[in-house]
C-alpha cells in the first residue's frame, strides 16, 4: 500500500495524523527504540528516521547536535537501514527515510532506493534536493514504489508550487515557516494560507512541519492539514524528561 492510501486510510479514524521524528543513533539506537515504542503507543501514524549527516545545514541546533553526536558515536548507514528494517517490521506506523542528498548520492541513487525499500521505508525526505536535481531519483522511486516527499514552502511562487505539485507523491511536506527546524512557529493565518496554496497545486495529503510542539498547534491544524509533523519538540522532551516525559507529551499532544 502506497503512502497516499495509507494516509487516507488512517485519516478515516481521525481528523489529523501525526508524523514524528528520530535521529538515528542519537542518543543511541536503544533510546530511539524506546522513543518509537512510546510514539507507537500514542498512535503516531508516520515516523521520519533521520540518517545523520555531517553537514545538516537545514537543521536547527538540537538536530545539528544530534547528527553530530550520532556520527561521533560511530553510526553508519548500514546501522540506520538495519534499524529502519526493525522499526518498520515492529510498529504499525509507516517509516520514511529523512536525510541529506549526499547520503543517497554517495551510495548511488539506485542502491539508495533499493535499500529504503528493502528496509520497509515508504519514502524519503531529502530537504536539500530540489526537484530539478531529483528527476532520476524520482523515476527510480516510482519504479520501486516508494515516495519522494516534496517540500512546499511559504516562499515558493505559484509557478514553483505548480512544478512541485506535479512532482509530489505520497504526501507533501509543507514547511510552516522560514528557518531551520526547531524553533516555535506561530500558528496563524500564514500557515492556513500556505496550506491553502499547497492544496491548489497538489492532491496529495499535506503534512505541516517546523515548530509544531503542542496540542493547541494540532488543534489549529485540524481540519486544514492532514498531518502534523512533530520533530524537535519530542527530542527536547526526551532529552529533558526521558520516557515518562515523552509519554505525557504524546498523550497530551494527541488527546
Amino acid at each position: 500500500m502506497g503512502l497516499q492510501s495509507y494516509i487516507a486510510e488512517r485519516k478515516r479514524g481521525k481528523d489529523i495524523l501525526v508524523m514524528a521524528h528520530v535521529v538515528c543513533g542519537y542518543p543511541s539506537f536503544e533510546e530511539n527504540m524506546q522513543e518509537l515504542e512510546i510514539m507507537a503507543e500514542a498512535g503516531v501514524d508516520l515516523v521520519e528516521l533521520q540518517f545523520p549527516f555531517s553537514e545538516p545545514s537545514a537543521d536547527g541546533p538540537l538536530f545539528v547536535h544530534a547528527n553530530e553526536e550520532s556520527l561521533k558515536a560511530g553510526t553508519t548507514i548500514d546501522q540506520c537501514f538495519k534499524f529502519m528494517a526493525e522499526v518498520s517490521a515492529r510498529f504499525p506506523f509507516k517509516v520514511l527515510m529523512m536525510g541529506y542528498y549526499n547520503t543517497a548520492f554517495k551510495m548511488g541513487e539506485e542502491r539508495f532506493v533499493e535499500r529504503v525499500k528493502e528496509a520497509g521505508g515508504v519514502g524519503y525526505i531529502l530537504p536539500d534536493l530540489p526537484v530539478e536535481e531529483a528527476v532520476n531519483l524520482h523515476r527510480l522511486s516510482e519504479e520501486a514504489g516508494i515516495e519522494p516527499i516534496i517540500l512546499m514552502t511559504p516562499t515558493s511562487s505559484d509557478k514553483r508550487l505548480a512544478k512541485l505539485g506535479l512532482a509530489s507523491r505520497g504526501m507533501v511536506y509543507a514547511v510552516a515557516r522560514k528557518g531551520v527546524t526547531g524553533s516555535k512557529t506561530n500558528m496563524g493565518d500564514d500557515v492556513l494560507a500556505l496550506i491553502e496554496r499547497c492544496r491548489q497545486h497538489t492532491n496529495m495529503p499535506i503534512g505541516v512541519g517546523f515548530g509544531i510542539s503542542s496540542k493547541s498547534d494540532l488543534d489549529f491544524l485540524r481540519g486544514h492539514a492532514d498531518i502534523a509533523i512533530v520533530g524537535t519538540a519530542a527530542l527536547k522532551i526526551w532529552k529533558d524528561e526521558g520516557a515518562p516525559g515523552l509519554k505525557t507529551f504524546f498523550a497530551e499532544l494527541m488527546a
Binding site: 545523520p52 553537514e55 553508519t76 549526499n102 554517495k106 530537504p127 517540500l151 516562499t155 531551520v180
Partner: protein
Amino acid sequence: MDIFDFSDGREGYYGEYGGVFLPEILQATIEELLECFRECKADPTFWQEYVALLQNYSGRPTPVTYLENLSRELGGAQIYVKRDDLNHTGSHKINNVMGQGLLTKRLGKKRVIAETGAGQHGFATATMAAKFGFDCKIYMGAVDVARQRPNVFWMENLGAEVIAVEDGQKTLKDAVNECMRDWVTNMADTHYILGTACGPHPFPEMVSWFQSIIGMEAREQILAQTGRLPNRVYACVGGGSNAMGLFQGFFDEPNIELVGCEAGGEGVGSYMHSARLAYDDASVGVAQGYKTYFLQNEEGNMNETHSVAAGLDYIGVNPIFAHLHDQGKVRFEAATDAEVKETLKLTMRTEGLIPALESTHGFVVALKEAATMSKDEIVLVNMSGRGDKDIFTIADALDDSKWKRFIEGKADQYRRERG
C-alpha cells in the same frame, strides 16, 4: 573558452559539477539572485561602477612585483607576483565582497551575512557592510576564531557581529552551514555574501566574475613588464576564488600551465590536509549547496581537514576546478604546512614580502618549480593576501620566544588590571 556559457549544458553546471542543492525555501531567493546577477553581468555600467569602487576604495589595480632576488638565487624561471595583498583589508576577498555589496544594494537588501575561515572574507564583508550601511553578521568556526583573532577584533570594531560556530569541526565548512541556517530564516532582507567560488549557482560564477579583475589586470601588467605571457601561473586554492580570478586572465592560452596549489597539511597519506584535487583522498559529493569533490568518507560524511592556513582548511573545491581538473586544464599540487613555513621565512627575508599563509602555498609550488625551469621562462604567482592576520599562527609556528614573552606580559597586565 567560456566556461560560463551554459547554452549547451545545464545552467550552473561545469561538466558534472556545480548545480543548486538548497532547501526549497531558498529557491525563490536564489532565483532572484541569479536574475539580479544576470542583469549586472549584462550591464556594462555595473562593471564600470565595480571597477571604480575598487580603484577608489581598495587601491586597484594592485601591481605585479618582480622577485629579483629569489629569481636570481633559485637560478631558474623569472618569478613575478600579483599583489592582491595590497588591497584594502589585506586580501583579494574584498574584490568579491565589493561586487556583492553593489549587488546587495540592487537587490534592495539591508543585511548581509558571511562565513569566514581565515577571517579575511569576514573582515572584507564587515568593511563593505560599514561602507554600504548594511547590518552584518559573520559566522566563523570557533577554531578559526582562535587562530585568526586579529581579524575577529577588526570585524567587531567595524560593527559586525561575529558568531563563533561550535558545531562540527568548528572551521570554515561549519561556518557555511550556519550561514545557510541564517539565510533560510532571513532571506527576505538578507543577502549571503559567499566568500569563495563555491556553493550553489550562481555563486561560483559570480565570485569568479568579480575576481576576474585579478587576471585581467595581471595579464596586462605582465605583458607590459616582460613583453610576454608567463609560462606557468600559480595560485593557492581554498574554495578557489583567487585562483579562478587570476587564471581567467590566461584560460585561453593553450601554452600557459595553470597550477592550483592546495593545502597539503601534514602531507599525502596523513589524512590531515585539505587537498581535494592534488591528492587522491576526495570524491564527488553534494554538500553546502553544490556538487564537487569533497574530502568525505564512503558514506558521504565529511572528513576532518587540516591546514596551517585557516582559509584553505575546507572540504570542497569550486566546481569549475573540479571540471577543469577532469579535463586536465588546470594542474593541482599541494604544499605541506612545513613547506609553507620555510617558504614564508624565505620570502620575508629575501624579498620583504609577507604573504598570508594561504598565499604562501602558491609560493611553495611556484618556487619549487621555478628552480627547475629555464631562465628565460616566467612564472606568475598570486599573493592573495598579506600575512599580518597570521601573526599568532606564524609566531607559534616559528616558536618566537620574544613574542610569547610579550603575550605573557600582556596577559599578566590584563589580570592585574582586573584585580
